[in-house]
Amino acid sequence: MQLLKSYILPRIAQWVVVIFVGVTVTFLIPRFSPINPVDDMIGRMTAFQTIDPQAVVAMRATMEDLYGLDGSLLEQYVAFWQRLLKGDLGPSFQNFPTPVNDFIAAGLPWTVGLLTTTTLISWLLGIFVGSLVGYFQHRRWAQVLERLVIVIYPMPYLITALILLIVFAFYIPLFPMVGGAQGSPALTWQYISSILRFGFLPALSIVIGGFAFRFIMAKALATTEIASDYVQYAELAAVPKRRIVLSYVIRNTMLPHVNDLALSLGAMFEGALIVEVMFGYPGLGSKLFTAISNADYNIIMGITLMSIVGIATGSLIVDLLYPIFDPRVRLR
C-alpha cells in the first residue's frame, strides 16, 4: 500500500502528465505551419487540369467544412481531446475521409515490429559484445572491435542506411528495396521469410546504430564492473570466465541497461523514421514524414501520439517492473 502511494501512483501520474504535455505540444506545433491542408489538397486535385476559378472557391468551402477546421484553436483543442478519449483520431486530410486509425492500423505493426526486434537485438547484442569487450579489454580482438565500433557509433542512421543500400541493394543485390513483405499476410513460411528478407536492411541500419550505442555503454559499465571486488574475487577463485561474464558482469550491469531501454526507444524511433523513408519500408515513420509536409494534422497527431504513448508506457512498464530485475533494496 505504502508502495502504491509512494511509488506506483506518482509514477502513473507522471505517465499521464508526460502524455498530456507531449500531446499538447504536438497539437500546437503543426498549427503554426503556414501550410493549409485544404489548399494543399485542392492544389493536388487540380494540379494537372484546368478548372473554373469559381469551382475552386466552392470546393474550398466544402472542404473546410468537412475537415472541421473551423473554430478557434481552443475549440479545436477541446474537440480534439473529446474525440481522442473516444479513441477517434479523426480523418486524414490528405486522404479524406479515411480515418487516421486506419493508417495507424496499417503502419503500426510494421513500425512496432521493426522497432521491437531491432531494439531487442541491438540491446542484447550490444550488452553482450560490449561486456565481453569490456571484460577482455586487453585482448587484441577486443581492441580491434572497439575501434570499429568507435567509428560506426557516431554515424547518423542516415549514412549507415545509405551505405547499406548501396552495398546490399546494388553492388550485392541481396535484399529488396521497397516494401515490407511479399504477398498477402499468411502464416506461411514463405510470407514470414519474406518479412525477414524485406526487413533485413532497414533493421540492420537501426541495429548497427543501436548496437554501437549500447556497446559503448556496456563496455564502460563492464570496465567498472570488472574492477569490483566480487568480480575480482570470483576470478581469483577461478570461476569460469563464461560464468563471470554472464552472471557477474552482465547480470550486474543489466540494471542500468534495463532502465535505459525504454528511453532509448525514442532514439530508435527516430532511426526508424529515417530508415523507413530510405528503404521504402511500410510503417508510421515514413507516413509521418509525408504527413508533416502536407500538414495532415490528424495523421501527425495520431502518429506522434502513438510514439509518445508507446515510449512513455514502455518506460512506465520498465520502471514498474524494475524491482523484479533488481533484487537490491532501494532506499527512498
Binding site: 508502495l3 509512494s6 511509488y7 524491482p323 533484487p327 533494496v329 532506499l331 527512498r332
Partner: protein, 343 residues
Amino acid sequence: MSQSPSRPLLQIEELSKIFHIRQGFSSQEFHAVDHASIVIESDKPEIFAIVGESGSGKTTLAKMVLGMEVASQGILRYRDRVINDLSNKEMKTWFYNEVQPVFQDPFAAFSPLKRIDRYLYETVYNYKMVEDKKEAPRYINEVLSEVGLTLAEIAGRYPNELSGGQAQRVAIARALITKPSLIVADEPVSMLDASLRMSIVNMFRKLKEDNEVSVIYITHDLATAYYAGDRIAVMLRGWIVELGPTEQVLGNPLHPYTQNLKTSIPSINVGETWKDKIDLAVIEADEYTRTGCKFAGRCPAVMDICQDNIPPNVVHGGRTVKCFLYDENVDPAKKTYLTPAAT
C-alpha cells in the same frame, strides 16, 4: 525522562527517524533511530560517547543533532530551541556557531580541488570571528595551535598533500573556529591508523578540559570510547539500550547486549582468550523487524515477555537500561527464561 535544574545544552527525547525502504514490490517503514533519549547539560562539558554496531543508527542520530536530517518524531532541542524549527538564517547565524561537526573521512570532508586553508578562512569570515580580515591568519593560527598545527604547515596545501591525521586535525580546527559549545564527531578516527588514533582522541580530552567544549563522540571502537568518554550510550538497532557514565556502563554492563559487547573485546592480555562460544545462527538483519525486544534473538537471558513487548527504559544503578530484566513492574513470575531463539 531526566529532569535537571539547569538548562540542558542538548535535549533529545523519544527521538525517532523513520526511513522508507523498498525492496522488490514491497515497502516498509524502518526506524533507523527509535525513541532515543539523551540529555547533555550545559554547565559541565563532557565527552559523550555513542557506541554500537554498524547500522545501529549512530550516524543518523548525529545528523539529526546537526540539523542535517529532519527528525520524524520526538523532541530535539538545542538550548531550548527546536532544531528543526530554526530558520535558515538562524541556522547560519546562531546554530552553526554553536554546533559543529567532524566527519569520519578527513579527505572526503574537504574538496580535493580546493586548498584546505580556504575552509578555515571561509569560516572565520562568514561567522565574523575577527573584526578585520587581516586578523584572520593570526586567529586561525591560534586555533590551529590547539590541535598541534601551525598555519604555515598547511597554508596553500591541498587535502591530499596532508596525512590523514593532519587533515583530521584541520577538520577539528575548522570546527573550533566558531568557538562552539558542542562538537559532533562521527567516527573521527575510524579511517585513521592505529598510531594516529590516540592522538586525536587525546585531543578531544584536551579540548573538553581547556575549551569547555562538549563532544559527542561516535565510534564502534569500545576501547577508545571507554578511554575518552565521560558518559556513553550503547545503541542497538536504533535503540539506546544502555546509557550512563562510561566507567559504570563498561565496567559493569547491565544490558545483556552491553555485556556481550564487553566480553567480545579481544584482550591482548595473554591467556585471556575466549573460552565460550557464541551463537552464530542469527541473521541480524531480521532484528529490525522484530516486534519485541530487538535483542531477543541473541539474548542469553531472553524471557517470554521479550518476544512481543518493547522493553521500557529503566533507571537502574545510575544509568538507563532498556531491558525487562531490570523492570520492577514486571511480575517476576512472567520472567520465564528461554534459551536463545534462533530465528
